[in-house]
Amino acid sequence: MEEQELTQEIKPPANTKGAARWLKDNLFNTWYNTLLTCLALVLLFFAFKGFLTWAFTEAEWDVIPANFRLFMVGSYPQEQIWRVWNAIYILSVLMGLSAGLWGGLVRRFAVVLSGVWSISALLPVELSTRGWCLGANAMIAVSFFLGRGRTGLRPWILGGWILSFPVIMVVLRGFGENGVLTSNWGGLLLTLILAVIGIVVSFPLGVFLALCRQSNLPAIRWVSTTYIETVRGVPLITILFMGNTLIPIFMPGFDINQVLRMMIGITFFSGAYMAENVRGGLQGIPRGQHEAAQAVGLNYVQTTLFIVLPQALRSVIPAIVGQFIALFKDTSLVSIIGLIDLLGVAKSVIANPDWLGLQAEVYLFAAAIYFAFCYAMSYASQDIETDLGVGKH
């Protein structure tokens, strides 16, 4: 082995490098590949030409900056917008600290994020917005340097991430009449909140259901299986409709607004899928682990908490990220019920008489935002998967 590598290092075989060689190997290696390449090039040329002509001459992109705030936060009142920025700052600090502590993937995300803020600050936006953007950037940078190398902080930061969720909810909502009613949450903000709630709240539900489904007590297993299979057999939109009309019927006396109803619907839906993901992890735990735990004298609860779940959950992280991506896209269904999430905003902008006939522009912009988030998450998921594969203990 070593010898072979050595000789390769000394004398690379001829013709393995160079652009011409690469072209020949990857595009023109056989006659049909040559044909395919040419065909594809022609198609690409026309597709790009058509799209670019439209995008630069016909499309009216004014609609995007004119409604930008609507896209981001919906009808969140302007004078309360600091709440959103505070939430962003909390996340920025956590992001910066984590980037400093763990490096790798988190650092890459932090860099991209601060890039986004820098570019936003350069755009022709209001002065205050520019200030907020630069502030977020500063938060990331300062906390990054604070966090660097202090590995002892890690458990605290993890706790901080968990705690940040309720804290941010409170920050965004405020209290009573002085705050911002959830019915005013909208745009990308609402989309993100719905997706995060769907995952975070459904997580314990999913773990519970999965444990029930794996139980050796038949009654518990059946109840759980029935729930999971019923929910998974039905489209999300049906569950959202049901949540919308049935929650007021089943819970008379409670004033549950539409945003909350959607959150409940999404959580129950997501819980069933989460359960199946977790179950996959549980099934991957060898029987010997249970036996060894029993032999040491641990009872069921201890075995589950200390032996089974830590291993099972670690192995299902990629699947959970996958579910998060799916859920992020699925939150767009709330626009059918009448909430103004990102897609809802897009629909309402199109319906605005000032911007008639701009469906393509508006939907493409919304699609680009969805794409950016989903793609970033699937990138992260692949990264985590390789990480888990390498340091497997």
Binding site: N29, L36, L217, V223, E229, I249, Q359, Y363
Partner: protein, 394 residues
């Protein structure tokens, strides 16, 4: 030894320590909790319904629906609600089945393209997959509906394909085959061909057994059947089918097959979105086999085509089928997004029924049952298939 004094009292276990009793007890408490929860919900429901001035009632399914449905099987507003719902079920099935067929073909195409040795093809396929699976399906459907289909030229300026198919903002119009009176004669030919084919199939099977060689059993039967069918086609007086071409009459095209703009947008959206996932399923299925197996097959001396047919596909197909089925199920469930653009699927019609009668609970029940029947039958078929496959595989 002191502590070895007998502590045994067989048969006398206090119930709170007896594993067997505990098992039953625990399940009992759990079931009781579930039943209690359901009971509370039921009580709340009755109370809530009273508050709305409604009573649970299933008789309305037999009442006259009174609303029109834009497409589907023959239906009249004077038909019952049940009939109206049935129209929706069939519409859902129609768009799902056609969507599954389209998505499979597109997905197969891009899945194989992702494995191409040609960098450009591979990259285009990857870009296709990433673009379409990372954008919400609802957005895609709404985009196709409002930004593409609705922007097509009007009837007078329809896009025409080969003079027989027309596309405009009112829908898609395709020629359809219409059976003629001579179809019967041709069917006789087909029957005869089938008999011959069965006979040849058995003959070939016997021969292969005698030769003790593997081979393609339908090698004689298939061409024989095709030849008979083809001869029949030309020998039949007149043609068994005529093409019914859509033609502009008055304000719209008449004749042939037509698909509404809603149906077309939904179909395109569902097919493209699902095809991106199917492409991934196909790619990873084939890739999971290819690595070591292909080399092994080569080392045994199989040719490229034989490797694919005898080694790769038999192993890849069982890997691909389960996730493929779940994609099909997803497509069927996603067809419910039709409500966003007004295609009358079962959910859309159910919703209209709810709005008209106020009976939301029974209507939701029938909607859920419809979807559950679809998914449970499919997963039952899937389980049966899996059991068969694993038995062969082991």
């Amino acid at each position: 030894m002191e502590n070895n004094s007998p502590k045994v009292e067989p048969g006398k276990i206090p119930f709170w320590r007896d594993v067997r009793v505990l098992r039953v007890l625990f399940q009992g408490i759990f079931l009781l909790g579930v039943i209690l929860l359901l009971a509370i919900l039921y009580r709340n429901m009755l109370e809530g319904l009273r508050g709305l001035g409604l009573t649970l009632n299933l008789n309305f399914f037999q009442d006259e629906a009174g609303f029109g449905i834009s497409e589907g099987i023959t239906y009249d507003p004077s038909d019952t609600y049940l009939k109206a719902f049935w129209v929706g079920v069939l519409n859902t099935l129609k768009v799902s089945i056609i969507g599954i067929v389209c998505a499979t073909f597109i997905g197969l195409f891009f899945g194989i393209a992702r494995l191409s040795s040609n960098w450009l093809i591979r990259t285009i396929a990857a870009a296709y997959v990433e673009c379409f699976r990372n954008v919400p399906l609802l957005l895609q459907i709404v985009f196709w509906y409002t930004a593409v289909v609705a922007q097509l030229p009007n009837v007078r300026e329809s896009l025409s394909l080969f003079g027989g198919a027309f596309i405009n903002n009112r829908g898609v119009y395709l020629p359809s085959p219409e059976p003629t009176s001579s179809l019967k004669i041709w069917l006789w030919f087909l029957g005869a061909g089938l008999l011959l084919a069965v006979f040849l199939y058995v003959l070939r099977w016997r021969q292969l057994q005698r030769l003790d060689r593997p081979g393609f059993r339908a090698k004689w039967a298939l061409p024989a059947f095709l030849i008979v069918a083809l001869c029949g086609w030309f020998l039949t007086p007149g043609r068994p089918f005529t093409l019914d071409l859509p033609a502009l009459q008055g304000f719209n095209y008449q004749g042939g097959m037509s698909f509404s703009p809603e149906f077309s947008a939904l179909l395109v959206g569902l097919s493209i979105y699902t095809s991106a996932f199917i492409a991934e399923v196909v790619r990873s299925g084939i890739q999971s086999v290819v690595k070591g197996q292909r080399e092994a097959a080569r080392s045994v001396g199989l040719k490229e085509g034989q490797t694919l047919r005898l080694v790769v596909l038999p192993q890849a197909v069982p890997i691909i089928v389960p996730p493929l089925t779940s994609q099909y199920l997803n497509l069927a469930k996603n067809s419910s997004l039709a409500v966003a653009i007004g295609f009358p699927d079962l959910l859309g019609i159910g919703r209209t029924m709810m709005l008209q009668t106020g009976q939301s609970i029974p209507v939701f029940a029938i909607i859920m049952v419809s979807y559950l029947v679809m998914s449970l039958t499919t997963s039952a078929a899937m389980n049966w298939y899996n059991r068969r496959i694993t038995r062969i595989g082991r």
